[in-house]
Symmetry: C2
Subunit: 179 residues, 2 copies
């Protein structure tokens, strides 16, 4: 007897610019059926914890319409294609958003953003030996500012509820624990 | 001059069971327009770090169709309504998924799951003084098993990429840092 949830039908409900939404008809363990929403984030992405030689961390301040708030987040972005290695994504996004190149990139965490209904993943990289040589090269849609903040201040902001972005919270806490 | 992104039109594209999707027409800082996907997770929810007197943490093993994987996650669930206090949600989900009542619940973190395109939030509570009196009372859709795992094992699984769920990673790292 198989108690696993089974998908018995899938119907495309919305084709968006970064994600598609499906109506999945699921067979539950008790035999009943139910329609579940499934958000297919087509690309996945990478997030970076960029640590300066003095220990401060580069973070991005930007306005996020989806939550109608200005946020403090680690640099991050989607892959250019589903074939792109996320370390390449991390390298590119770090350069675009902060103008820095990292001498060393190492995988810190693998995250699934919202496993209950969404396929999105984010690989979190630690970036060290930063070369601050270049200026930002932003997408037209990005209007962001970066700043260098001590780890202790970021931890305070997390516990005070001022930093809430899940990849940022997980990435900073993981870096703090590793140190 | 206002450099903030502006939403100039919103169109409902999909009305789902737990979320709605909108096509937002955004005016970028340079004056161009672009269509962005916006996922409105109608309820938000709560997540719980349940700590037994011996220090082990209760986690849930379940199959997640959205990522086609069995996951290890902290107990969590959506609010019954948009008016529900998330501490109430935490209390109910802990009882439903593990059969435990918590003598003490305290807010540990506030998370926005995917701030780039989704309104979902999750409040993470630390649950202590657990009373293991009752058995699970699951939704029909849930086919989950809970287990008590030492914190050190959970941290190893996070760094090995075996635990990837973002609220679980953030919640466990926050609890470990607070200890």
């Amino acid at each position: 007897m198989d108690y696993r949830l089974k998908r018995i039908r899938r119907e495309l409900a919305y084709k968006g610019s970064i994600l598609d939404v499906y109506k999945d008809t699921m067979e539950l363990p008790d035999g009943k059926t139910e329609v579940w929403d499934f958000v297919d984030h087509r690309k996945g992405g990478a997030c970076i914890v960029p640590v300066l030689p003095d220990g401060r961390i580069l973070v991005i301040r930007q306005y996020r319409p989806a939550i109608d708030q200005e946020t403090v987040e680690l640099p991050a972005g989607a892959r250019n294609s589903a074939a792109e290695d996320t370390m390449e994504t991390a390298r590119r996004e770090l350069l675009e958003e902060t103008g820095c190149r990292a001498g060393r990139l190492s995988l810190l965490l693998k995250l699934k953003t919202a496993a209950a209904y969404c396929s999105e993943f984010t690989d979190v990289y630690l970036a060290e030996e930063l070369d601050m040589g270049e200026s930002q090269s932003l997408d037209e849609a990005e209007e962001i500012r970066y700043e260098a903040v001590p780890l202790s201040t970021l931890l305070e902001k997390i516990y005070a509820g001022e930093i809430q972005d899940s990849k940022t919270v997980a990435g900073i806490l993981a870096y703090a624990a590793r140190k």
